[in-house]
Symmetry: C2
Amino acid sequence: MAVKDWLPPGVVGVERKLKAGQALFRLGTRTAGLYEVTSGKVRLVRVDPAGREAVLHVAAAGDTIAEASLFSPTYHCDAIATTNAVVRLYPKDALLAQLQSNPSAAQAFMAMLGRQVMSLRTRLEQRNIRSARERVRHYLAVNVGADRRTVVLPGTLKDLAADLGLTHEALYRTLAQMTAAGEIARLRGKIRLIHADLA
Amino acid sequence: MAVKDWLPPGVVGVERKLKAGQALFRLGTRTAGLYEVTSGKVRLVRVDPAGREAVLHVAAAGDTIAEASLFSPTYHCDAIATTNAVVRLYPKDALLAQLQSNPSAAQAFMAMLGRQVMSLRTRLEQRNIRSARERVRHYLAVNVGADRRTVVLPGTLKDLAADLGLTHEALYRTLAQMTAAGEIARLRGKIRLIHADLA
DNA sequence: CGGCGTTTTGAGAGAGCTCAACATCGGTGG
DNA sequence: CCACCGATGTTGAGCTCTCTCAAAACGCCG
């Protein structure tokens, strides 16, 4: 899912540094292209009529923003650096030209978008689950490895908690309960599912 | 966002009726193409090691499923009709051929996917908000019309509540509170934002 | 008019959040 | 090697907010 996995050859990115609070682009301005966040965090926001920010997305290192802007003349929201950040701009015209002329590049791009849609829909569905325990179970079921037993944790439990939409305390407690119940076992950076009912 | 807005010309869909509980496709089977749900509901699920279903997505009338399957030889989850349903299959090979040979079709498809990613990210961000009131505010801010005052409600309030991840009771109460506080006014099928602080 | 789904309001309970304290681990520097 | 420090991990206790269950008013359509 990293940029280099789908970026057409010949499109070069331009780095840009942002101070915390600095705007990368603003609603209504002409689209320059697609950005990849190299470090730090950038938030996409729309300012509501009362002057408050409504956050549309928070992009962290490795994330891309404004994919849709490739097909729009202007940006549809503001992008503001939440922390000091470094972004890389992939210019719209070069990228579009490649996607037009290079079918396999276009296909890679479509495939990436398709996977993202799937992943986002899954995470959204996960949020429909109220119970912390069931939500964790959902996460484990969806992210279990090919062995159907091991789940590799991508980062810290704190990060995972944020991903799951839980406080880290709630996540710790839930994992402790599930461990006590013999449902899972915790290893370094991994969780193993334990199921008595082996088919 | 409807299929006809981006579907390449020359790709014809094949209808298929499903009884409630019937599988449309199964994990690991060869991908036939992309489906549009015409009526009813279809859920995408993965069966977890304990035999329970983990729902990845519930597609209703108008939704498409398995966009990513175009670029994969096999399906990555099961699709099962939750209700009696009608789906329309757009065969993978015809669709891919069009996307390959017809750049503007490819572009329309990419644009659609990009918009979907954006919309899903926004909805996901919305779910990070705990407070019903703030969540409603977020929704209103994101969906306000060009006049920056009117929000058109797509369906019933009950549907909206489900979209927002709230019970309908919670939504009714919240709207009542906001109305009482003079923050919004409710019209038939619309909500008007009221802001004292007009710039 | 009768029935069904939406809308609305009420009361109570439960689950996760908040605040707080402490443990643990890894890195840093004296 | 050890003391220190920050971030992660862990557990406790209380509270708030939404969910749940319940009941009733309303609107729409046959």
